[in-house]
């Protein structure tokens, strides 16, 4: 947190030389720093990408309710998408992880009964892929989480706000729906605003 605070202070100092600042600006700056550090909400130092995409409704083998898991039960995204911090892909959770809770929870619900059927057959549901980039794009969840969450000491419990940059607000969806364009111009605009790399080979390799 201290490291992050220093970085912010340096950033503000960089914009306006300290000696030239009006007292009111000082107050504003301190207030801003206080606000940013104390607020667990939005990340003021990072500018989220702009742009929306009207995604198609994708029928999944089980209509998985992201909203219940994220909004009602407050489960962290990375609890299920556990590979996101370790690998280029976030990973669909193993069926055993679903069953970890659903052996006991909500077993009377039809969706859970369907899941249990899969589990008893020893199969994973054939989920349909919603978010994808072309094969010539090397996107990695691991680097983005490192930069946007862990290196900034951003509160991990709020990671869903960072995920929402590219995936939209899953707390408002049942099955996932593509909500952002995920095309090159969109990626680049975010990289430009937030100091991401601009070398071609960073993504195309």
């Amino acid at each position: 947190m201290v490291r992050w605070f220093n970085k912010q202070a340096a950033k503000i100092a960089g914009v306006t030389p300290v000696h030239a600042m009006h007292p009111v600006s000082w107050i504003a700056a301190i207030t801003l720093v206080w606000f940013v550090t104390s607020s667990a909400g939005f990340a003021q130092d990072i500018v989220p990408p702009v742009g929306v995409h009207q995604g198609e409704d994708v029928a999944q083998p089980i209509e998985f309710p992201h909203n219940i898991h994220v909004e009602v039960n407050k489960i962290n995204c990375m609890y299920c998408h556990t590979y996101a911090r370790r690998s280029k892909v976030a990973g669909i959770p193993p069926t055993s992880k679903c069953m970890g809770c659903h052996k006991i929870i909500a077993t009377d619900k039809p969706r859970i009964q369907k899941l249990t059927e899969y589990w008893q057959k020893g199969e994973s549901p054939k989920w349909k892929k919603v978010h994808d980039v072309p094969d010539y794009v090397h996107f990695t969840h691991e680097r983005h989480l490192k930069k946007l969450v862990f290196d900034r000491d951003y509160p991990v419990e709020d990671v869903k706000e960072i995920c929402a940059f590219c995936h939209g607000q899953l707390k408002d969806m049942t099955v996932a729906k593509k909500a952002k364009p995920l095309n090159m111009g969109w990626c680049v605009s975010c990289h430009e605003k937030n100091g991401g790399p601009s070398d071609c080979w960073k993504c195309h390799k």
């Binding site: 994708v58 669909i92 193993p94 989920w127 892929k129 990695t140 090159m184």
Partner: protein, 736 residues
Amino acid sequence: MIGKMKRRDFLKALGLGGTATLAGCDLPTTVTLEEGKEDVISYLLPEEYAIPGIAVWYASTCTQCTAGCGIHGRVREGRVLKIEGNPDAPINAGKTCQMGQAGLQGHYNPDRITTPMVREGGKLVPTTWEKAQALLNEKLGAKSSLNADRVAWFTGTLSGHQRALVVNHLDAVGSKQHFAHEIVNASVWQAVCRDMLDDPMPRIRLDKAKLILSFGADFLATWISPVHFAGQYSKFRTAADRGALIQVESKMSMTGGSADLWVAIRPGTEGALALGLANYLVANGVNASALSAEVRDKIAAHDLQKVASITGIASAQIERIGKALKGRNPSVVLAGASVEGQAQGYEAVAAIMLLNVLLGNIGTTIEPSGKFPFPQLEAKSGGTRDLLAFAQAVQQKQLDVVFFYGANPLYSAPVALKLDEQINNIPFKVALAQFPDETAMHADLVLPVSSYLEDWGTHVAAYQAEQNQISVQQPLMQKLYAETRGFGDVMVSLLAMRNAAQWGAFADSYGYMKNVFTNMKANVGAAALSNDEFWNNSLQTGMVKVDAPVRKHTLKPVVPNVAANSTDVAFPFYLVPSPRMGLFDGRHANLPWLQESPDQIAKVVWDSWAEMHPSTADKLGIAHGDVIKVESEHGALEVKAYLVKAIHPDAISIPLGQGHTEYGRYAKDRGVNPLKILKPITDAKTGELAMYATRVKVSKTGKQDVIIRLGHSDTQHGRRLVRTVSVDVLKRTKGA
């Protein structure tokens, strides 16, 4: 208008026209990806060590040729995606060749056989493993009345536990008929080394040599263990005192292309040249007292003038080679397939080996190999003698059941052996095949086997590097096709049919392999490890190191009875069926990467061609790209003429690998197969097929065709893309 048009204008016009044409097509606007079309399947239970998106490397062994290089396979999400050399493997030290890289395309090949097939009413039709096994049980089970030696196995080079399983099966049936066949082999070299040194596969140390004199040994591409020798060669070349390579052959090989001095020799006269060089060395003070009087007489009879007239090499050139041999010590002299493949092949190789004796190379650059302590696992190196013996057995109707595995005799057998016509003399032919090759398509029962990236096995390469070892092959991923089975799985079930008491205990080859490793542990000095530790270590490293006592070379120089070939007026040229890194003996013709990768000398892709010297073509009135007829006593091939100076005027070279009549979409009906028109001449001593001794005549057909090759042209058309400078200028300016 065209005449006045400049290149730039032309491109502009093309651009406009191009846009107009394209507008009618499905013009891609932006890259979009479909949502919800692709399946994404999670693990049922997470594997602790497997993180999606992060690759894991597993060790195994390459089986693309017989060298037995160690490999690492990159596996992600349960798929093997890339093959690299295993840095700890003494044979290849982390390197692979293009054939090794292309192994993936065999594994993922769209023409893999995916179900068992049985011949019904003359046609192969899909069947089930249960029915296939019932059929095998009927023919070969404990109750069958088969006469022992009427059951045979026909394989490629086989070693390790695959060989042990085949031998076990033959023992169980009571037969001794195991034919091992390889077109690209070093059988004659091995025979000479065995007779002269008491060591069939001595270690070659190119890295210790200051001069390599190679008689047609293409050690960078096809000879014995190419990746191993390429590693040694790079040390030889980068040493402070840079080694020199002299290559003597009738048609330039890849190794020849790298030589400092490349000498074209009249086909089949290499033995005479070797004796001529020995003559030069003895005349110039090299001590020949190690040789018998009889050998010295042979050498004395080959003076430079005589040898020059036999070989067609100027005596000054022979002297130059002799001088290099005498001056640059230690040296190493090698003999390859074009020397071995003559009626006097053994004699010629023996004469070449004498040079090593004279120059004191035995013990310095030709080192004794280790005596492998488990003879039952040693490689049964294939050759062509077994092909001839097999053809004879078929002709005489001596075989009732033959199993084919890892060899394709119906592709490689010359027409003169009549194997095509007579293969049905074998009433029951079983092919354990991965692809629909010529032999599998003639079989009565086809059993689909796993690819080498899905299968268990152990290999003992015939040529072992400094550290003797058993190379371990393990599945890098699950089987792509549920109905294929590992070679070991098939063998265990075949053996259980005969001897349920002993073999019924193993469920599959995995069970067999684990048992084998448990038993092996104590014999390879690993008794201190637990069974699991030893098994895991072996899989992790891809090898089991074996301490092999080093042999002692006992020198017994053979008297080389080198005789000149007679001339043949009707068939004036020698056919050189040259193998190459890539398609090899034809087994890789179904791998598009290797079809696409150009021949190392001619740069031709996806095709066959006949190389001939421009002076020969001139005499016959043949131009580059003419379709010519190359005819031997046993048949004719129509193929495009390729004029190149890197060939002796008496030789016509058609590369091996093409001309498949089956073998999937990439290989079938493409080019010609020079093996088909070979005359079945054999080497007198070893009985191997003299593959380079067939005489041919050449005539025009009047047709013309385009030869597709990389770059298409030998000149830069004045564009100076690659700038050159003469040696004189370079010396004067020091490259500035």
